[in-house]
Amino acid sequence: MKWIKITETSNIPKREGRSVKVGSHEIAIFNLGDRFLAIQNSCPHGGGPLADGIVSGNSVVCPLHGWKTCLESGEVQRPKDLQSCVRRYPVKVEEGVVLVQIEATAKGRETQERMCTA
């Protein structure tokens, strides 16, 4: 699976997110200080831009109506017990550049493998 070079790490400030369009995918990449994580940039509630949300620990809060999504598991944590989730993208950092991997036929979180880089 190919790693795609996205941007220099300094372009994503600490505890903030930035969105990027790669082909048909719109991805939100977050800088958690000690690692980078990426999910789809669209809230399962109403499509809100998750990259613009406030980071709370390892979750992000959607700027539109406050749904809270875990950046690691992709699960929606608030509202509770919703069983809803967003797509995750593996991320790594190499030589000061953030890279993501896009699986051609990702079908949900079971098939995804979490990748964290320091």
Partner: protein, 802 residues
């Protein structure tokens, strides 16, 4: 059913009827009231005059109460005669009605001392709603007002008139103010405090004549001196209304004489309130009237038993910043009475206790009334104080409401105004499951009078309902479990200069969308530039200075000060909108224009091409100042509202506040730009401005409260600035001014802003000036973004077909 007629729809009469209803529904009740208003709280007229309460706020029982208790109410009817043989009363409307039992609760009438000219226009008493309304209409900046009488009522009237802007002098016959309650030294301390407020005091002045040709122009005193006055209030005492008692051939001295069961000399006629005399005493305060009412209710319903033993008069002056309390017998020149005193002129504190036979006989407190409740208890119980002689003036450290509350007996009156005992409150809490102070007020009436028992009521709630404490201590959120007040304190004293520091030291290290923006505001407000800014703690709106829309685009609202624009500005707005395909241009509800549906990456260019500063429509900060045309064009304008509004906006723009701050300035009371429903409003009057705060017309609608009335525009702007900075420093994050002023109470807000000592006011203005100097138009970040991708859409370094 027996027919009960009540003469007087005032405080004592209706309170007594409330008690009667508690006993049994055996009467068919009719109440006659000469005033045209339903039963209201007369003691709060002082607060209405001082602008702290609206007339509508002081109703005790509305029409629905009379209806649901099947009481016939006859307002605007004066009873002119009683025939005790035929058992009828006659009204000035000509009607004659039969009664089985008659209750006289006619109150009293202001005493007019013998002098000439009291019927001139501009001479008022201060007794009822009509008087108060008239005074409110006439008191304004520039008016010279004289209050004749330096007792409780006179002083409260003086303060009220002064708050309305009048230049006030109190003229008093005696050698000291409130001589019925205070001794010479107490009077001296009080005089100093009153003068510090800016009210002039003339002692030992006997007025001989009110001067003027039709309308009052001044006063002449017996010593020949004169003083100018455009408004005179006579507050020289009261006279019980006893004429009806005489007509009914009842025994009458100064008041209608009643025995310990509240019976008059006629077995079917009873009397209560200021019109009665019990044991040679006529009372002029409400607490005794309630005690009388309870006894009377028992007697009249056939439960004769409880007796009225007389009351200890306790008086409290209701002027903010001037704490005066007096109770019992304070004259120590009488044999067998000795006095213990404490005075500190710099602090303005004076205390005197009189003792007789080892028990407390009376108390005078000026400047520090914290222990008044304890002294009242001692007075009532006749506690033997021999053992604590050394600590009388400072009985124990800061009174802990918790244990104070426990030591109060159930029968003890907690709320003197409404005559509610501790037992009443506790059983109401238990029976009705009350949880909040508001519910206690509603259910028992306690603390709905002068408000001095509020702390005790809270203490009772706390003691009985443990949840109440939590109700009080609302923590910011689970990440940093402290109240906002605590957090502000921590940020300041621990020198915490970034959001992350607060989260690391006092919280879970992460924070969330609730605490981060709040902490961000606190750190910024406290350190004002001398802090580490953390954009990630801000909501997206405050990172890109635009309001996020439902589709992820943004809106652009440029500042249009006072709602005034120009053809050139409009042309640029039109050009920009066309060039960037702005989907909608809309006139907002705040007198400006909104460019909706803009992409984040277009924001910097649009701002640059508009060449207008940010309107802060996306943030918790200064929104706008709406104005009306005022004297510039309007035929009714009395003030230049446009210039004043633009100036106000200039002085405050670019600053952040706990929640959004919206303002309005109008040229006359027609209020065309809705200033009285804004967070801060200025309402122009002929020759003055009213500065109002805490208004809202959003989720809740609230009419703003009067902060102060001043003559010049500069003074009005300063008052607005004082409140603005005070709100910035003391409100909780996301607390609009309408909640803020209610939480603190206008009294406190005024005391700590416009009526604060000059040094405090200057310090507030200095801190505001410092923040203002550091603030800047957020849209200038278009030239120097805080990080390279603040507005830019990130482009991947390699493209790939997917």
């Amino acid at each position: 059913m027996e027919k009960l007629i009540v003469i007087g729809n005032g405080m004592a009469g209706v309170a007594c009827v409330e008690q009667i209803l508690k006993h049994s529904p055996r009467f068919d009740i009719t109440i006659f009231g000469e005033e045209t208003h339903v039963n209201y709280n007369r003691i709060l007229l002082s607060s209405v005059l001082a602008g702290e309460k609206e007339m509508d706020d002081i109703t005790i029982n509305g029409l629905d109460w009379y209806q649901s208790n099947n009481i016939s109410l006859r307002l605007g009817v004066r009873i002119t005669g009683i025939d005790p043989v035929a058992k009828t009363v006659t009204g000035d409307d000509g009607s004659t009605i039969h009664y089985d039992k008659l209750l006289i609760a006619a109150g009293s009438t202001p005493l007019i001392p013998p002098m000439e000219g009291t019927t001139k226009q501009g001479v008022y008493c201060f007794r009822n709603l009509d008087d108060t309304r008239a005074l409110l209409e006439r008191a304004r900046p520039g008016v010279k007002a004289v209050v004749i009488g330096g007792g409780l009522l006179g002083l409260e009237a003086a303060r009220g008139l002064q708050v309305q802007g009048a230049d006030v002098t109190v003229v008093h016959l005696m050698d000291r103010l409130m001589e019925r309650q205070l001794d010479y030294t107490g009077g001296l301390f009080l005089k100093r405090k009153i003068e510090e407020l800016g009210v002039k005091v003339l002692l030992e002045k006997s007025t001989s004549e009110i001067l003027g040709n039709g309308h009052v122009e001044g006063l002449r005193f017996e010593d020949g001196e004169t003083i100018e006055a455009g408004l005179v209030v006579i507050a020289a005492g009261i006279r019980p209304n006893v004429e009806l008692g005489r007509k009914a051939s009842l025994t009458v001295n100064r008041g209608i004489v009643v025995n310990n069961y509240m019976e008059t000399s006629d077995p079917d006629i009873f009397a209560v309130g200021e019109c009665v005399e019990h044991n040679c005493v006529c009372y002029g305060l409400v607490a005794p009237l309630y005690e009388q009412g309870k006894v009377l209710a028992a007697t009249i319903t056939g439960n004769r038993g409880p007796v009225y033993k007389g009351s200890i008069s306790a008086a409290k002056l209701k002027i903010m910043g001037v704490d005066v309390f007096s109770a019992g017998f304070t004259d120590d020149t009488v044999a067998g009475v000795e006095a213990v005193r404490y005075e500190d002129p710099s602090l303005g504190v004076y205390k005197k206790l009189t003792l007789k036979d080892g028990c407390l006989a009376g108390v005078i407190l000026v400047g520090d009334v914290a222990d008044s409740h304890r002294y009242t208890e001692w007075l009532k119980d006749g506690t033997d104080l021999s053992a604590q002689r050394r600590n009388l003036l400072f009985p124990g450290s800061a009174p802990d409401t918790g244990c104070d509350v426990a030591s109060i007996p159930d029968s003890e009156t907690v709320c003197g105004c409404m005559g509610v005992t501790k037992g009443d409150i506790i059983s109401a809490i238990h029976e009705k499951g009350l949880q909040t102070l508001a519910q206690v007020k509603e259910a028992t009436r306690a603390s709905s009078g002068c408000g001095s028992c509020t702390e005790l009521c809270k203490g009772l709630l706390k003691a009985v309902v443990p949840e109440f404490e939590e109700d009080q201590k609302k923590v910011l959120c689970a990440c940093v479990p402290f109240t906002q007040e605590n957090l502000r304190e921590m940020v300041r004293t621990q020198h915490l200069k970034s959001v992350q520091e607060v989260l690391d030291i006092y919280g879970n290290g992460h924070g969330c969308e609730i605490c981060k923006p709040a902490l961000s505001y606190m750190v910024d407000m406290t350190w004002c530039g001398d802090h580490e800014e953390d954009r990630s703690a801000r909501f997206i709106n405050d990172r890109v200075h635009a309001n996020i829309q439902r589709d992820g685009t943004f809106s652009v609202v440029p500042r249009m000060r006072g709602g005034v624009t120009s053809p050139a500005e409009l042309r640029r707005i039109a050009d920009v909108s066309e060039k960037y395909n702005v989907p909608m241009v809309k006139v907002t509800g705040s007198q400006r224009l909104d460019l909706l549906g803009v992409r984040k990456e277009d924001l910097p260019a649009i701002w640059a091409e508009l060449g207008m500063p940010s309107g802060q429509a996306y943030t918790k900060g200064v929104r706008m100042v709406k104005t009306c045309v005022g004297t510039t064009f309007c035929r009714f304008g009395t003030q230049d509202s446009i210039s004043a509004g633009i100036e106000l906006e200039r002085r405050l723009e670019n600053l952040f506040t706990p929640h959004k701050t919206k303002m309005g300035v109008v040229g006359c009371p027609r209020n065309c730009a809705e200033a009285t429903v804004k967070d801060i409003g200025m309402v122009g009057q002929e020759g003055s401005w009213q500065v109002v705060v805490g208004g809202a017309a959003g989720k809740s609608v609230r009419k703003a409260d009067l902060l102060i009335t001043v003559e010049s525009t500069e003074e009005a702007l300063t008052a607005a600035q004082l409140f603005f900075q005070y709100y910035r420093e003391h409100a909780n994050y996301l607390e609009r001014t309408y909640d803020f002023v209610e939480r603190l109470g206008m009294e406190k807000v005024r005391k700590e802003t416009v009526y604060a000592p000059p040094a405090v006011r200057e310090a507030l203005l200095d801190r505001l000036a410092k923040a203002k100097a550091l603030s800047r138009d957020a849209w200038l970040e278009r030239e120097a973004p805080v990080n390279p991708t603040q507005f830019v859409q990130i482009q991947p370094m390699e493209t790939i077909a997917l």
